[in-house]
Structures are given as C-alpha cells and as structure tokens.
C-alpha cells in the first residue's frame, strides 16, 4: 500500500512537471510575445506576493464573492428544501430553476449594471445568479429523492413529520446538498471574476486587465494563476469539511 501511495504521488508530480515544462518551453520559443514562460510567471507571482500588490487586491474580489455565496447558500438551500418537501412549492418553483440552471445567466449582467450600477450590489447579484440554481436544484432533488424505505421506517416508529424531516430527510440529503454548495461555489468564482472583467475592473480582475493593457504579461498570468489556485484550494477545503462533518462512511474508508 505504501509503495502504491508514493507511486500515485510520483505520477502526480510528474504530471505537473510535464505541463509546467511544456509551458516553459512554449514560452521560450516563444509562441507569442504575449506568452510568458512558466518561470517568468512564477517570479512575477513571487514579487507580487512580496510587494503586497497581490494581498491588496484579494479583499476586493472576496467581498462580493463571500457575501454572494453566503446569501445564495442560505436562500438556495431554504428554497430547495422547501420545494422538496412541499408539492405546491415544487409545482411553482421547480420549473423556474430547471430553466435557469440550463440558461446562460451570465447574459443578465448587462441588465444588472443597468439597474444597480457598477458597484458592489451588481457584483454580489452576479455571484448569486451564477450559484443559486445549482444549489437549489441539488437541495430539491436530494430532499425529493430521500429513500422511501427510510421515511417509511421513521413513520413505522411513529416519528412526527418534524422528526422525520430533521432526523431522516435532511441528514440523508445533506451529502447532495453539500455537493450543490461546492458546485455553487465554483460557479460563484466564475461569476465573481466575470463581474470584475465585465462590470468594473476591481480586485484580481483589475490586476488582470491592467497588466494586460500595459503588456506586463507575466504579471497578468501570475494574477490568473493565483486566482485559479485559490479557487481550487477553496473548493478543496469545502470538500474536506464535507468529509469531516457529513460523511462518516467516507471517513472510514479513507
């Protein structure tokens, strides 16, 4: 087992080395004057972290992102669970969210700027509209598809409706709800960056567009690299907390 583990780790490291090696090579050719090498990008990243310019922009990106994600998590889960439990709510709500989930909601951004200006509100709403549909639909389907035998088990032991909801339906739905949160967070990141590129350049989006406009491509790439890594780590942490709190079954096998 031990050798297998190192084996998988070696392969992972090798895979990263290959990709970064190709990046370095293509940057040295160079395939385009606007394509810096991997090492240039990394040194730009290092200097941007060192001189604090990176740390300075992140709060501006995170403010709308976090506010938006909190709002859409609370609203989305509440909506989804309610729709899963109540047939009338399901009839009214589910079709809307089914349509919204497949719709390219990013197209609403021009409307939002029109209505709410170019400030924080527009950006928060952008994050929300990107992340809400998947959160709602996951919560809804999870609640709706609670195994019937489990509910019947609860009823046969004379559980009240409230007990059945709190002790059976919600716990059994929580892994899927949580998966929805993770997908919602990923969409929220997409929305937050899109808002910064499209509405007004702030935060990391500003760093990207500004360095692009003055042709400091290694800094532009460094900014993009950092936000990608950041998003991946953020969602990885969400996943870890899921294992920690909601999935004793997965924890045992790990």
């Amino acid at each position: 087992m031990r050798s297998l583990f190192t084996h998988s780790l070696t392969l992972r490291v090798l895979s990263f080395a290959i990709v970064f090696g190709i990046w370095e090579y293509l940057g040295r050719v160079p395939i385009s004057p606007a394509f810096p090498t991997f090492l240039e990008t990394m040194s730009a990243l290092g200097s941007m972290i060192a001189d604090g310019s990176m740390a300075a922009v992140y709060p501006a990106t995170f403010q709308p992102l976090l506010i938006g994600l909190v709002i859409s998590s609370i609203l989305g889960i509440a909506c989804g669970v309610f729709m899963g439990l109540n047939h009338k709510a399901e009839w009214f709500g589910a079709p809307v969210f089914i349509v919204l989930q497949s719709a390219p909601l990013a197209a609403l951004i021009p409307l939002l700027t029109f209505a709410y200006g170019i400030g924080l509100t527009s950006k928060i709403i952008t994050v929300c509209i990107m992340s809400v549909p998947v959160i709602v639909l996951n919560a809804y389907t999870a609640v709706r598809h609670t195994p019937v035998s489990m509910i019947e088990m609860g009823e046969s032991y004379l559980g009240s409706r409230r007990q059945i909801i709190m002790k059976i339906i919600i716990p059994s739905a929580s892994p899927v709800i949580y998966a929805g949160l993770r997908l919602g967070a990923a969409m929220g990141f997409i929305g937050a960056i899109l808002a910064e590129l499209l509405i007004t350049p702030t935060g990391i989006g500003d760093l990207i567009t500004y360095n692009q406009s003055i042709a400091e491509y290694e800094k532009m790439y460094a900014a993009i690299f950092s936000i990608m890594v950041f998003a991946v780590i953020f969602i990885e942490i969400l996943e870890r907390t899921e294992y920690l709190f909601f999935r004793p079954d997965k924890r045992v096998t790990q």
Partner: protein
C-alpha cells in the same frame, strides 16, 4: 399539482410566472421588467432581422464547433483515464482543477493569444464543456461490469475492438450524461465568451442594447437564449432516458 382533481403538468407553472411578470410590468414595478407581452412582441420583431440572424449563426457555429471539439477530445481521454491507472493519476488532478477553477479568468489569456474573434469564443466553449465530458466518460468506463471486459479479453479482442465495441457502448449512459452537462456548460461558455469578446455575435448585440438602454430588446434576446438552452438540455435529457434500460441491465 392538482386543481379541481385534474393533474396539471409542472411546466405549466411557467405560464403562471409569465402572467405575474405581465402584471408587474404593467404596474411599472421596475425599469428592469417591461411587460411580458411587449417582450414577446419585441421578439417577433427582432428575430427575423438580418443582424439577429447573423449573430445567431455565429453563436451557433461557435457552440457547435466548441462542443464538437470537447466531445471528440473528451470522450477518448475519459475512456483512457478509466482504463489506465497511470493516465488516470496523471490527468485527474488537472480535470478536477479545471472543473472547479474560475475559467472566466482564462478568457483574457485566450484573447491576447487568439485575438478578439471566433477562435477565442470557440476555445472558451471547449474549456467550459470538456472537463465534465472527460469525467463522466471516465466514470462510465470505471463502472463497466468487469465480466464484460473479461468477455472481450476471452475472445481476444484487440484494443481497438474493445474500445469501439465495448467500452464506448458500455459507458454510453454516463457519456450521454456528460455530453448533456457539457452542452449546458458550453452554452454558458459561448455566452460568456461573447460577453467578454463583445464585438461579434450576440456579444455585439448585448453591447448595442445595453448602451442604448433597450430593455425589451435585451429581454427578448435573453428569452431567446434561455429557450434555446432549455431546448438543448431537455432534448439531450430525452435522448439519455432512452438508454435507461442499460442501467437496468447492469444489475
């Protein structure tokens, strides 16, 4: 839901929302919401125009090319990952990463490398669609009943035969699900690409409408897009359900 003992299909509630919208529009609740009826009128007016049709063609072309590339590349990569542990361990971190990474941040890179045109939009579409297709094809191949693989081996199937005659077909339910999810994502990708490039296709129309505060035009275009996206998702969903007997045959 039931009304007077008659079961009303769920999608009918959209009509209710449309009526609500119409009332809100007539009452001038917000400049954001023009009456539903005038949006529909506007749709009838602008959809037959040349500019709209051209923008639609460009969008459709980008969508089809992008999704096509994502499918053609994604399925073999996914199958390979499902069959080879080495390929899986090398590629899975990247697939998972791109699945949760903010891909919008990469669009500026594409713009500097490929210009403000269709190439960038197509690549954005590919980038949005491909990862879920890879992941689902991989899951499908991993779920193949082991005895089916043994069966092919015992009849001395070549790698190519096993790929074309067993793996792709056995993984078809998951592959179709991946294609459906990939298409939903590539609709989003094609629109985000156009919003950011903003000089071609619907991106130009968005720019035009919002610069001139044409609310009804904007909504007409949005409805058109939402409707199309819904049609694609549902159509693929129907196709997917036709293969449900596969799952039954698995157990």
């Amino acid at each position: 839901m039931k009304l007077f003992g008659i079961k009303i299909p769920m999608m009918a509630s959209l009509i209710f929302w449309a009526i609500l919208w119409e009332i809100a529009g007539q009452l001038d609740v917000s400049i954001l919401l023009p009456p539903f009826s005038s949006i529909i009128m506007r749709m009838v007016e602008i959809i037959p125009t040349q500019t709209f049709f051209k923008a639609f063609l460009i969008t459709a072309e980008c969508f089809l090319l992008g999704t096509g590339i994502a499918i053609v590349l994604g399925i073999p990569i996914g199958v390979l990952m499902g069959r080879s542990i080495v390929a899986d361990r090398m590629l899975l971190p990247w697939v998972n990463m791109f699945l949760s990474a903010p891909l919008t941040a990469l669009v500026p890179v594409l713009m500097t490398l490929f210009g403000f045109g269709m190439k960038t939009i197509i690549l954005t579409t590919v980038l949005f669609a491909i990862w879920i297709i890879v992941l689902d094809a991989r899951a499908g191949v991993k779920n193949i009943t082991p005895s089916l693989v043994d069966m092919a081996k015992s009849f001395q199937a070549s790698h190519w035969q096993a790929f074309t005659k067993i793996y792709v077909w056995a993984a078809l339910p998951e592959i179709l699900a991946g294609i459906r999810l990939g298409c939903i994502r590539s609709v989003k990708g094609v629109i985000i690409g156009q919003l950011l490039v903003s000089v071609v296709g619907f991106g130009r129309l968005f720019e035009l409408y919002s610069a001139n505060f044409l609310m009804e035009h904007m909504w007409a275009l949005l409805f058109f897009l939402f409707f199309f996206a819904f049609l694609i998702a549902e159509g693929l969903g129907v196709l997917e359900r036709r293969f449900e007997y596969y799952a039954a045959a698995r157990h």
